[in-house]
């Protein structure tokens, strides 16, 4: 009985200490994580509707294809990669699947004013103010018609993050060379291989949704990913950072089971030995 009392005191002290250095300290240091806003409600445009994909393709060729390719429809960018890097310090993305991962309202706002939509005043793409709302809707309709549905987390990470971020352990190398990235963004963006462990998943989701939430002043642009694309990205980052989770959970049960049996046996032995003491 006395020993149980001592054990209870130990447990209470340890739990108080744990509460202080883990949950409490974290809440003080990091504050609350802002909820992601997938409606992008700060952007004052309405979601595009009823666009015409055929007209969209014409508009795309005239306005976008000088920098952007669209592999899904056999369109090559008018500018080769090296020229693009020298001009912008970053590779313009191929837009094949962009409509599958980026929110369409965001996309409409982005085309008209990339700096505002991404919250990055130095964003490389110039505003396309010459396009009317209808033009934008047509382009987005075209982009949706060619985009591949059901992209995997890995594909999304390559499409959405891979121009600036490497994922070394998955052999994904950032498309843009490091020196250019440094010139464009001020520093080399971190590798994402174990980012799923360096940051809480809830934080990652909020950060991808709006980088200014987590790191005010960061040069990472807001990407406008849809809820589904964001969640797939985070799930992928989590999975590659901790690839042995299933094995760990399975083995843990066996080890703990073994030790429980062991505790039973050692307790029986103790009883037997101590019977003759006193």
């Amino acid at each position: 009985m006395k020993e149980l009392k001592i054990l209870a005191i130990l447990v209470v002290i340890v739990l108080i200490g744990y509460w202080g250095i883990e949950p409490y300290a974290h809440s003080v240091m990091h504050g609350e994580i802002k909820k992601p806003d997938y409606a992008y409600s700060d952007l004052k445009v309405s979601a595009p509707t009823g666009g015409d994909a055929t007209k969209g393709k014409e508009l795309f060729t005239a306005n976008c294809a000088s920098c952007h390719g669209l592999k899904n429809d056999g369109i090559n960018p008018g500018m080769d990669k090296n020229t693009a890097i020298t001009s912008f310090n970053v590779v313009p993305p191929d837009l094949s699947n962009i409509a599958a991962i980026v929110d369409h309202k965001f996309l409409a706002a982005f085309i008209k004013n990339p700096q505002e939509a991404t919250k990055n005043p130095k964003f490389a793409m110039p505003p396309m103010a010459q396009l009317s709302d209808e033009d934008v809707a047509n382009i987005i309709a075209y982009l949706s018609s060619v985009a591949k549905k059901d992209l995997t987390g890995k594909e999304i990470v390559v499409e959405a993050c891979g121009r600036c971020h490497s994922v070394k352990y998955q052999k994904i190398e950032a498309e843009t060379p490091k020196d250019n990235l440094k010139a464009y963004l001020g520093k080399i963006p971190p590798d994402l291989s174990v980012m799923g462990k360096a940051k809480e998943l809830e934080y990652l989701e909020s950060f991808i949704n709006n980088p200014q939430n987590g790191l005010p002043g960061t040069s990472m642009p807001r990407l406008g990913l849809t809820k589904e694309a964001t969640e797939k990205t985070v799930a992928y980052l989590d999975q590659i950072a901790d690839p042995h989770r299933d094995q760990r959970n399975r083995l843990g049960i066996w080890v703990l089971g073994y030790l429980l049996v062991m505790a039973g046996l050692t307790f029986a032995w103790k009883k037997k030995i101590w019977k003759n003491v006193h």
């Binding site: 006395k2 020993e3 001592i6 054990l7 130990l10 002290i13 340890v14 108080i16 200490g17 744990y18 202080g20 250095i21 883990e22 409490y24 300290a25 003080v28 240091m29 070394k168 352990y169 971190p190 590798d191 291989s193 174990v194 980012m195 462990k197 360096a198 940051k199 809480e200 950072a241 690839p243 042995h244 760990r248 959970n249 083995l251 843990g252 080890v255 703990l256 030790l259 429980l260 062991m262 505790a263 050692t266 307790f267 032995w269 103790k270 037997k272 030995i273 101590w274 003491v277």
Partner: protein, 394 residues
């Protein structure tokens, strides 16, 4: 049986077993807190074994260290993650077990005559273990590894005359760099473990001579312990010990498999970058109390540093601070109160140590630091009061 006789003739193994185990008596009036010495040994063994496996793939090089840990060991090597989690959790739990072992010694007066050598060697082991943990923490070469090492080594700068040179000597460079990593590696895997083993041997030898303390702080002769007041170390004491160890291992491996995150700071999953200081720098939880004493004297860096060093070593002098004739805290009402205030203060400092040292937290840290020292400074006074009481009462 023949082989035993052969061995006994040459190594006197029978006598050794008697002295170390079967005729080494432990008092009967002890509780399971006396198991923590063996638990420390168990955790040390776990650290050595898991450490050897990690050594087979770890690369002590500033360019390779991070990937060798986070890719090779954690992802590519079969069950590499198990050894890393085990090593990290064991390092953390080592200090939990050590602190309980030490607190038991403080409460029941196990540092008092004739056990001063047991206490001092134990304290040296604590300091060595701290150094081992500190050097080991640099090895994964993450952001927190790097900046903790940078911050703590900078402290040596304040030592008069030799300070700045000493810092460069410790780091092997002007900042923490590849040379620092390599030498910390050498200290962590060879020099410090060797010293730990040597001092453990002396510690255990000393305990075999003076015997374990007990709840009432009574002194028993070997004869008394043999006839009723004690139990033989083997098999009686160890029979209970194995049960305690099993229960402890359930807790330990539960942490390894399901709650390992407390022992692996998320910031350390970002590679060391000497151009980018993390927003918050803090040591692992087991150093937080001492770290808070350092920060507690926020108005003077020098004072903070002196207090920090003092806080880490003052407990070594307990046998000379507390000269009360009453051994066990069980029979010392005033001491009991002081002890629990001290424990509460230690937990309080540990929690504060991780919080940003601003505003109210800074002042609380200062007050907490003063209470920490007040415990030790009150001991000579308490001793005097108790001395008088004992002289008058008997």
């Amino acid at each position: 049986m023949k082989f035993i006789d052969w061995l006994d003739e040459r190594l006197a193994v029978r006598e050794l077993v008697k002295v170390m185990l079967t005729e080494y008596y432990v008092p009967k009036n002890i509780n399971f807190l006396w198991s923590f010495g063996v638990l420390v040994m168990l955790v040390f063994a776990i650290l050595v074994v898991s450490g050897i496996f990690l050594l087979m793939y770890y690369k002590p090089d500033a360019h390779l260290a991070f990937d060798s840990v986070n890719k090779t060991i954690m992802m590519d090597v079969e069950y590499g993650w198990l050894f890393r989690h085990t090593h990290a959790v064991a390092a953390s739990i080592m200090f939990l077990v050590l602190y309980i072992h030490m607190a038991r010694g403080i409460y029941y007066g196990s540092f008092k005559p004739p056990r001063e050598i047991v206490w001092i060697t134990g304290y040296i082991l604590f300091v060595l273990m701290s150094a081992t943990a500190f050097t080991g923490y640099l090895l994964p070469w993450g952001q927190m590894s790097y900046w903790a090492a940078q911050t703590i080594t900078t402290l040596f700068e304040k030592i008069p005359f030799i300070g700045p040179d000493l810092v460069v000597w410790i780091r092997g460079n002007y900042i923490v760099e590849d040379a620092t990593l390599t030498r910390f590696f050498a200290l962590h895997v060879v020099f410090l473990p060797l010293l730990l083993i040597v001092f453990t041997a002396i510690h255990l030898y000393a305990v075999r001579i003076v015997g374990s303390n007990n709840e009432d702080g009574e002194r028993y002769t070997k004869e008394e312990k043999k006839h009723g007041k004690g139990i033989p170390f083997w098999p009686v004491f160890m029979a209970k010990e194995f049960f305690v160890m099993s229960v402890f291992l359930i807790f330990f491996f539960y942490l390894v498999f399901y709650q390992y995150k407390f022992a692996m700071d998320p910031i350390n999953f970002q590679p060391a970058d000497y151009l980018q200081t993390p927003m918050h720098i803090y040591p692992e939880w087991y150093f937080l109390a001492f770290y808070e004493v350092l920060r507690g004297f926020f108005f003077s860096q020098n004072l903070g540093l002196i207090a920090f060093v003092l806080s880490m070593f003052i407990a070594a002098f307990l046998p000379w601070l507390d000269k009360s004739p009453i051994v066990s805290g069980k029979h010392r009402p005033i001491y009991k109160v002081l002890f629990w205030i001290f424990i509460a203060d230690f937990v309080f400092l540990t929690i504060l140590g991780k919080l940003p040292p601003t505003g109210l937290y800074a002042w609380l840290g200062f007050v907490g630091s003063l209470i920490y020292f007040a415990f030790f400074l009150a001991l000579p006074i308490v001793s005097k009061i108790e001395k008088k009481k004992v002289a008058g009462g008997r």
